[in-house]
Protein backbone atom coordinates (compact mmCIF):
# COMPACT_ATOMS: atom_id res chain seq x y z
CA UNK A 1 0.00 0.00 0.00
CA UNK A 2 1.48 3.28 1.01
CA UNK A 3 5.14 3.92 0.34
CA UNK A 4 5.78 6.25 3.27
CA UNK A 5 9.01 7.01 5.16
CA UNK A 6 7.43 5.70 8.39
CA UNK A 7 4.64 3.22 9.14
CA UNK A 8 1.34 4.89 8.28
CA UNK A 9 0.11 5.31 11.87
CA UNK A 10 3.38 6.80 13.12
CA UNK A 11 3.66 9.11 10.12
CA UNK A 12 0.09 10.22 10.73
CA UNK A 13 0.93 10.98 14.40
CA UNK A 14 4.08 12.87 13.41
CA UNK A 15 2.31 15.04 10.84
CA UNK A 16 -0.57 15.74 13.24
CA UNK A 17 1.94 16.79 15.92
CA UNK A 18 3.67 19.10 13.43
CA UNK A 19 0.33 20.65 12.45
CA UNK A 20 -0.53 21.13 16.12
CA UNK A 21 2.83 22.82 16.70
CA UNK A 22 2.23 25.13 13.72
CA UNK A 23 -1.21 25.95 15.15
CA UNK A 24 0.32 26.95 18.49
CA UNK A 25 2.95 29.07 16.72
CA UNK A 26 0.24 30.73 14.62
CA UNK A 27 -1.78 31.59 17.75
CA UNK A 28 1.30 33.00 19.47
CA UNK A 29 2.19 34.99 16.33
CA UNK A 30 -1.31 36.46 16.24
CA UNK A 31 -1.16 37.41 19.91
CA UNK A 32 2.18 39.17 19.39
CA UNK A 33 0.76 41.44 16.67
CA UNK A 34 -1.03 44.76 17.15
CA UNK A 35 -4.55 44.89 15.70
CA UNK A 36 -3.37 47.64 13.36
CA UNK A 37 -0.67 45.40 11.91
CA UNK A 38 -0.84 44.58 8.21
CA UNK A 39 -0.63 40.90 9.02
CA UNK A 40 -3.00 40.76 11.99
CA UNK A 41 -5.97 39.58 9.90
CA UNK A 42 -3.95 36.96 8.08
CA UNK A 43 -2.31 35.62 11.24
CA UNK A 44 -5.71 35.33 12.91
CA UNK A 45 -7.21 33.54 9.91
CA UNK A 46 -4.14 31.32 9.56
CA UNK A 47 -4.39 30.33 13.22
CA UNK A 48 -8.08 29.44 12.77
CA UNK A 49 -7.24 27.52 9.59
CA UNK A 50 -4.49 25.49 11.26
CA UNK A 51 -6.62 24.72 14.32
CA UNK A 52 -9.47 23.49 12.09
CA UNK A 53 -7.09 21.33 10.02
CA UNK A 54 -5.48 19.88 13.15
CA UNK A 55 -8.82 19.11 14.79
CA UNK A 56 -10.03 17.27 11.68
CA UNK A 57 -6.75 15.37 11.40
CA UNK A 58 -7.23 14.18 14.98
CA UNK A 59 -10.82 13.16 14.18
CA UNK A 60 -9.53 11.36 11.08
CA UNK A 61 -6.86 9.61 13.15
CA UNK A 62 -9.35 8.44 15.76
CA UNK A 63 -11.70 7.19 13.03
CA UNK A 64 -8.98 5.33 11.19
CA UNK A 65 -7.39 4.00 14.36
CA UNK A 66 -10.73 2.60 15.44
CA UNK A 67 -11.45 1.23 11.98
CA UNK A 68 -8.02 -0.39 11.62
CA UNK A 69 -7.67 -1.56 15.19
CA UNK A 70 -4.74 0.65 16.23
CA UNK A 71 -6.59 1.49 19.43
Amino acid sequence: MANLPLPYAQFFQLVTAIYAAISVIAVLWNRSLEKSSRYYGFSRAFAIFMIVVTVFLVISYIAQATFMGWI
Binding site: A2, F12, A45, F49, V52, V53, F56, Y61, Q64
Partner: protein
Amino acid sequence: METVRGGIKPGHLVVSGVFGGICAGAALFSIIMVPIPGIPGGSGFWIPAGLYFALTLWFGFWGALAGHIGTFIGMGPFFGFTFQVWADGALGDFLAPLINLAIFRATRADPELKTGRDMGIWLISVIISTCLAAMWIHFVNYSFGTITFDLWKWGVIAYTIGDTLAVWIIGTLLLRSATKYIKTFPYYVKGLFS
Protein backbone atom coordinates in the same frame (compact mmCIF):
# COMPACT_ATOMS: atom_id res chain seq x y z
CA MET B 1 -9.86 48.07 6.39
CA GLU B 2 -10.52 45.95 3.30
CA THR B 3 -7.86 45.86 0.62
CA VAL B 4 -8.37 47.30 -2.83
CA ARG B 5 -7.95 45.04 -5.82
CA GLY B 6 -4.38 45.15 -7.11
CA GLY B 7 -2.27 43.16 -9.53
CA ILE B 8 -0.79 39.70 -9.25
CA LYS B 9 2.07 39.64 -6.73
CA PRO B 10 4.77 37.09 -5.91
CA GLY B 11 3.02 36.70 -2.57
CA HIS B 12 0.14 34.98 -4.34
CA LEU B 13 2.49 32.17 -5.32
CA VAL B 14 3.74 32.00 -1.73
CA VAL B 15 0.12 31.64 -0.58
CA SER B 16 -0.35 28.75 -3.04
CA GLY B 17 2.84 27.06 -1.87
CA VAL B 18 2.20 27.39 1.86
CA PHE B 19 -1.43 26.29 1.76
CA GLY B 20 -0.61 23.62 -0.84
CA GLY B 21 1.80 22.08 1.64
CA ILE B 22 -0.81 22.18 4.40
CA CYS B 23 -3.42 20.59 2.11
CA ALA B 24 -0.94 17.84 1.18
CA GLY B 25 -0.81 16.55 4.76
CA ALA B 26 -4.57 16.53 4.99
CA ALA B 27 -4.82 14.83 1.57
CA LEU B 28 -2.38 12.14 2.61
CA PHE B 29 -4.33 11.21 5.72
CA SER B 30 -7.91 11.49 4.55
CA ILE B 31 -7.52 9.45 1.39
CA ILE B 32 -8.16 6.12 3.09
CA MET B 33 -10.44 7.37 5.83
CA VAL B 34 -13.34 5.74 4.05
CA PRO B 35 -11.91 3.76 1.12
CA ILE B 36 -14.36 2.84 -1.60
CA PRO B 37 -13.58 -0.59 -3.14
CA GLY B 38 -13.05 -0.48 -6.90
CA ILE B 39 -12.79 3.29 -7.13
CA PRO B 40 -9.16 4.45 -7.05
CA GLY B 41 -8.61 7.50 -4.88
CA GLY B 42 -12.10 7.33 -3.44
CA SER B 43 -12.65 8.78 0.03
CA GLY B 44 -15.87 9.08 1.94
CA PHE B 45 -14.87 12.27 3.69
CA TRP B 46 -12.31 14.30 1.79
CA ILE B 47 -10.93 16.77 4.35
CA PRO B 48 -8.84 18.83 1.89
CA ALA B 49 -11.95 19.69 -0.13
CA GLY B 50 -13.21 21.80 2.76
CA LEU B 51 -9.85 23.56 2.85
CA TYR B 52 -9.35 24.39 -0.81
CA PHE B 53 -12.95 25.50 -1.38
CA ALA B 54 -12.47 28.12 1.34
CA LEU B 55 -8.99 28.97 0.09
CA THR B 56 -10.34 29.55 -3.43
CA LEU B 57 -13.00 31.97 -2.20
CA TRP B 58 -10.21 33.82 -0.33
CA PHE B 59 -7.37 33.65 -2.83
CA GLY B 60 -9.11 32.90 -6.16
CA PHE B 61 -7.00 30.95 -8.65
CA TRP B 62 -4.14 30.79 -6.14
CA GLY B 63 -6.30 29.02 -3.58
CA ALA B 64 -7.42 26.47 -6.17
CA LEU B 65 -3.78 26.01 -7.16
CA ALA B 66 -2.96 25.31 -3.49
CA GLY B 67 -5.62 22.59 -3.46
CA HIS B 68 -4.27 21.17 -6.70
CA ILE B 69 -0.69 21.10 -5.37
CA GLY B 70 -1.83 19.54 -2.10
CA THR B 71 -3.92 16.78 -3.60
CA PHE B 72 -1.34 16.11 -6.34
CA ILE B 73 1.36 15.54 -3.70
CA GLY B 74 -0.90 13.89 -1.13
CA MET B 75 -2.61 11.46 -3.47
CA GLY B 76 0.19 10.69 -5.85
CA PRO B 77 3.42 8.98 -5.02
CA PHE B 78 2.43 7.19 -1.85
CA PHE B 79 -0.49 4.97 -2.68
CA GLY B 80 0.51 3.20 -5.86
CA PHE B 81 -2.08 4.82 -8.13
CA THR B 82 -1.12 5.27 -11.77
CA PHE B 83 -0.14 8.78 -12.84
CA GLN B 84 -3.39 9.09 -14.79
CA VAL B 85 -5.50 8.43 -11.68
CA TRP B 86 -3.85 10.88 -9.33
CA ALA B 87 -3.23 13.58 -11.94
CA ASP B 88 -6.88 13.29 -12.94
CA GLY B 89 -8.06 13.47 -9.33
CA ALA B 90 -5.89 16.48 -8.59
CA LEU B 91 -7.16 18.22 -11.72
CA GLY B 92 -10.74 17.62 -10.60
CA ASP B 93 -9.85 19.08 -7.22
CA PHE B 94 -8.55 22.13 -9.08
CA LEU B 95 -11.67 22.56 -11.22
CA ALA B 96 -14.30 22.06 -8.49
CA PRO B 97 -13.44 25.12 -6.35
CA LEU B 98 -13.00 27.25 -9.48
CA ILE B 99 -16.54 26.35 -10.59
CA ASN B 100 -17.70 27.29 -7.10
CA LEU B 101 -15.79 30.58 -7.35
CA ALA B 102 -17.36 31.32 -10.75
CA ILE B 103 -20.84 30.85 -9.25
CA PHE B 104 -19.92 33.16 -6.36
CA ARG B 105 -18.60 35.85 -8.71
CA ALA B 106 -21.60 35.55 -11.05
CA THR B 107 -24.08 35.88 -8.18
CA ARG B 108 -21.97 38.47 -6.27
CA ALA B 109 -22.24 36.32 -3.14
CA ASP B 110 -20.09 37.20 -0.13
CA PRO B 111 -17.85 34.40 1.25
CA GLU B 112 -18.48 35.62 4.80
CA LEU B 113 -21.88 33.86 4.45
CA LYS B 114 -23.64 36.37 6.70
CA THR B 115 -26.95 36.38 4.83
CA GLY B 116 -29.35 33.59 4.01
CA ARG B 117 -28.87 34.29 0.30
CA ASP B 118 -25.09 33.87 0.54
CA MET B 119 -25.48 30.70 2.57
CA GLY B 120 -28.00 29.29 0.09
CA ILE B 121 -25.71 30.04 -2.86
CA TRP B 122 -22.82 28.42 -0.98
CA LEU B 123 -24.70 25.23 -0.19
CA ILE B 124 -26.08 24.80 -3.71
CA SER B 125 -22.91 25.84 -5.55
CA VAL B 126 -20.89 23.27 -3.60
CA ILE B 127 -23.18 20.47 -4.78
CA ILE B 128 -23.05 21.68 -8.40
CA SER B 129 -19.28 22.10 -8.50
CA THR B 130 -18.43 18.82 -6.76
CA CYS B 131 -20.87 16.91 -8.98
CA LEU B 132 -19.41 18.42 -12.17
CA ALA B 133 -15.86 17.67 -10.99
CA ALA B 134 -16.91 14.14 -10.03
CA MET B 135 -18.35 13.52 -13.50
CA TRP B 136 -15.15 14.84 -15.09
CA ILE B 137 -12.81 12.74 -12.90
CA HIS B 138 -14.72 9.52 -13.34
CA PHE B 139 -15.28 10.13 -17.05
CA VAL B 140 -11.49 10.30 -17.48
CA ASN B 141 -11.04 7.16 -15.37
CA TYR B 142 -13.74 5.42 -17.42
CA SER B 143 -12.11 6.57 -20.67
CA PHE B 144 -8.80 5.07 -19.59
CA GLY B 145 -10.54 1.82 -18.67
CA THR B 146 -9.73 2.21 -14.97
CA ILE B 147 -13.36 1.82 -13.94
CA THR B 148 -16.49 0.34 -15.47
CA PHE B 149 -19.56 2.43 -16.27
CA ASP B 150 -21.39 0.92 -13.30
CA LEU B 151 -18.59 2.13 -11.04
CA TRP B 152 -18.67 5.50 -12.84
CA LYS B 153 -22.17 6.09 -11.48
CA TRP B 154 -21.24 5.04 -7.96
CA GLY B 155 -18.01 7.01 -8.16
CA VAL B 156 -19.84 10.20 -9.09
CA ILE B 157 -22.37 9.70 -6.30
CA ALA B 158 -19.72 8.85 -3.68
CA TYR B 159 -17.43 11.73 -4.71
CA THR B 160 -20.28 14.24 -4.75
CA ILE B 161 -21.60 13.19 -1.34
CA GLY B 162 -18.18 12.84 0.30
CA ASP B 163 -16.79 16.12 -0.97
CA THR B 164 -20.02 18.02 -0.42
CA LEU B 165 -20.25 16.92 3.23
CA ALA B 166 -16.61 17.83 3.88
CA VAL B 167 -16.98 21.23 2.20
CA TRP B 168 -20.25 21.98 3.95
CA ILE B 169 -18.78 21.19 7.38
CA ILE B 170 -15.14 22.33 7.16
CA GLY B 171 -15.56 24.99 4.46
CA THR B 172 -18.52 26.63 6.19
CA LEU B 173 -16.61 26.65 9.49
CA LEU B 174 -13.62 28.34 7.87
CA LEU B 175 -15.59 30.85 5.83
CA ARG B 176 -17.81 31.92 8.72
CA SER B 177 -14.96 32.25 11.22
CA ALA B 178 -11.98 33.49 9.19
CA THR B 179 -13.16 35.37 6.07
CA LYS B 180 -13.54 38.69 7.86
CA TYR B 181 -9.88 38.47 8.88
CA ILE B 182 -8.62 37.28 5.50
CA LYS B 183 -10.31 40.26 3.83
CA THR B 184 -7.80 42.57 5.53
CA PHE B 185 -4.87 40.62 4.07
CA PRO B 186 -3.13 42.27 1.08
CA TYR B 187 -3.31 39.05 -0.95
CA TYR B 188 -7.06 38.58 -0.61
CA VAL B 189 -8.42 38.08 -4.14
CA LYS B 190 -11.62 39.78 -5.28
CA GLY B 191 -11.57 38.54 -8.87
CA LEU B 192 -9.90 35.44 -10.25
CA PHE B 193 -6.20 36.30 -9.97
CA SER B 194 -6.09 39.51 -7.91
